[in-house]
Symmetry: C2
Subunit: 478 residues, 2 copies
Amino acid sequence: MALPTSTAQRFLVRASRQLRHYSAPGTGEIPAAKAKYVPKSGTYPKGFLAASEHVGVKPSNTRFDDLALIVSETPCAAAAVFTRNKFQAAPVTVSREVLRRREGDGIRAVVVNSGCANAVTGKGGVEDAIKMGEETDKCFEDGEGEGDDGKGARTLVMSTGVIGQRLPIRKIVRKIPSAYESLGSTHAHWLRAARAICTTDTFPKLLSRTFTLPSSPDTPYSLAGMTKGAGMIHPNMATLLAILCTDAPVAPPSLHALLTAAVDKSFNSISIDGDMSTNDTVVLMANGAAAATTTTTTASNGRPTPRTIAAPDDSDPDYVALRETLTRFAADLAQLVVRDGEGATKFVTVRVANAASYGDAKRVASAIARSPLVKTALYGKDANWGRILCATGYAEGADSVVPDQTSVSFVPGDGSEELKLLVRGEPERVDEARAAEILKEEDLEILVRLSDKEGEEAVYWTCDFSHEYVTINGDYRT
Amino acid sequence: MALPTSTAQRFLVRASRQLRHYSAPGTGEIPAAKAKYVPKSGTYPKGFLAASEHVGVKPSNTRFDDLALIVSETPCAAAAVFTRNKFQAAPVTVSREVLRRREGDGIRAVVVNSGCANAVTGKGGVEDAIKMGEETDKCFEDGEGEGDDGKGARTLVMSTGVIGQRLPIRKIVRKIPSAYESLGSTHAHWLRAARAICTTDTFPKLLSRTFTLPSSPDTPYSLAGMTKGAGMIHPNMATLLAILCTDAPVAPPSLHALLTAAVDKSFNSISIDGDMSTNDTVVLMANGAAAATTTTTTASNGRPTPRTIAAPDDSDPDYVALRETLTRFAADLAQLVVRDGEGATKFVTVRVANAASYGDAKRVASAIARSPLVKTALYGKDANWGRILCATGYAEGADSVVPDQTSVSFVPGDGSEELKLLVRGEPERVDEARAAEILKEEDLEILVRLSDKEGEEAVYWTCDFSHEYVTINGDYRT
């Protein structure tokens, strides 16, 4: 039902009253236990800039930046993986279309707001998302003079926050130019941007690192990424967002294949509550800026010069190396999301090994990582292999599971010996004191071997299920 | 790893120390709010008898009966639906084999113990389950003199309780004859048996009713059923069990088809926490006793006499009528399990209507019923259509979901008008006071229409997700 404007406005007023605004600690302070996950410095990819601004998307937010801008100084390749939820938010629709029209090339920026997901907002919501991108594109017109190549917008759009509310688009648009003006490449710039995309997150999630590729070992590349939120983590609130940037030279077809592979073993291998949001988006941008610099400075000295990774090719050592680097990096980034799971007191790695196929291993890992009973047992520090086994047994489609070949162990976070709970379907005598010791720690690995023979392995990261989760997600708006 | 006896014994001692024994209120008293679900009387099927005994399967249980026996006075047809979990408990393996060897006929009894699931207990566990059945069979040898027809055991076996512990089989076997001696057909007998199969249940779940079939409208039939527990409802503890008995005459092939149809829309349409146990079993027995009585007393007066429902046949009015009766009955029984969901404060019907297929409707209903975010919102009395929509959108395989054709409403338990939250993908202005009123009630229906056109419908029953659920399932054994 399309609402007439005044009705829509009344709806918005009501909706904003109706929605509970749970927030991370109101002071914006990072909890002491999480401070170690926030980097004090970083090495950021050349030719990328970051900025943030305060919009006040939620009227109650009078002090924290809630608009972030990540810009490539030159048009770059970009790829994205979006939520598979059938209800896709407007920014998902719009960003997907931008990438489609540009065939993953000529992208300049990602603009992100927190505080409102722009989801289930109809045509008006799509117009708002387009507007956010257009206003960002306008910033490039003066300085860069790229002109219009007929392929339309160059900016990807992301939103995160409550569902069913329209964006305060005029307020947002007003702040885009000042965000653009304040772009910079320092650690502080990146960290502020990472903080601006947060919602109920208790700390900003930012990582960076350097790497080289086999064909040009003298060229240092950088990779930086920020992410926020986990699954559906708020009443009416969506979203896992992630933005990864590298100055390595990668062409669009490779970039998309690399991102898909990396996401499968990172952002698609974590679970907070098993709910998949309407806004989930992971973007990877590659501008080749480091290669460009190296090419001009070293091409004449006879050293190997960087080349663009043109197409996905498993026989190309550069492609394979970058895929590994990117997958590890994305996994580290995704793990930060689990570290910040709502109400979480534990960080649990679920490793399923010796499986007949990677698919089977992942299906079992996912079932264990999602089981409310496994998660409440972990919260209760209960060495409850019965529940782990039970989840293993009902994992849908995991056809190669054979009860009397299945073994379950706890692997302590400190690198000490595993504690066997079940060996080939038979319960072990469990050393209680040892189990209690392992379960006391924040970090823990559940290791399920589906056979004694070497086979495929999948890893999932999850957290426990606490009273606080219920409080955060069930607490009546007051 | 097979343990030598002394080691196995030590394991058992340790295991019993290791396992926390959460129980429903220790006095065995039924909570005031649940008393209304326990019948004061009933009409039970002819030729079936029930009994219970105190074994003390869990040593800590010194007062409550934990062995139940349901017996047909004559050999009867039986069918069962078992858990799809790959880790199947010993009684599941054994009962399945008994039914296979007898081709669903010549069954005399179901013997059930609570307090120990006899799951993940290896070959010894299977021997224990066989022994339970054999000892029950021995009771029939004197009185009935059926003799050995070469098809082996006539008794189905069920167990529920902790996983990974062996049954105290000698203690159980010792009490089977006295249970047999105390068999009876009164309401008190049935109620005691229903109570004996409970574990963390706070009330016994027993229903009975009468019905007729189109071809013999003068013959009154009865149907009785008991059930317990929901999903994985206890640390290391399993199981949904249900036993249904009717005195209508149904041959094995029909019985199996009828039970499968009924379970799909009842026990397979409920969710407490989405975990599927190792022991889940639903048994249906039909002994034709009411028909036998009627045949001899009315055959001579020219009225239509009962006939056996021989084969599944959608053009047979008796078959169709019994399927409807049985499905409704099983649904009522399954709903009692949800009423007793751990920590539940709400009983929620999820109805998905106007779907392209029943499969799609059920997949969406299941996703909503299982979503921790929907369930915590219900606990928090939050009219959170965003989460309902989100679960609708990620329901796996529900390909016919189209966002702008989807509508969501709350239907109050008192029969008053539905409250529309979302109409064809557009948020409604929600009357807050009305929403609060509806969410205050224990009973609530979430109605999702996948289109405006008439189509298939599926119903799921679920409960909310409360602090108490986390306490019950996460509380460290102390």
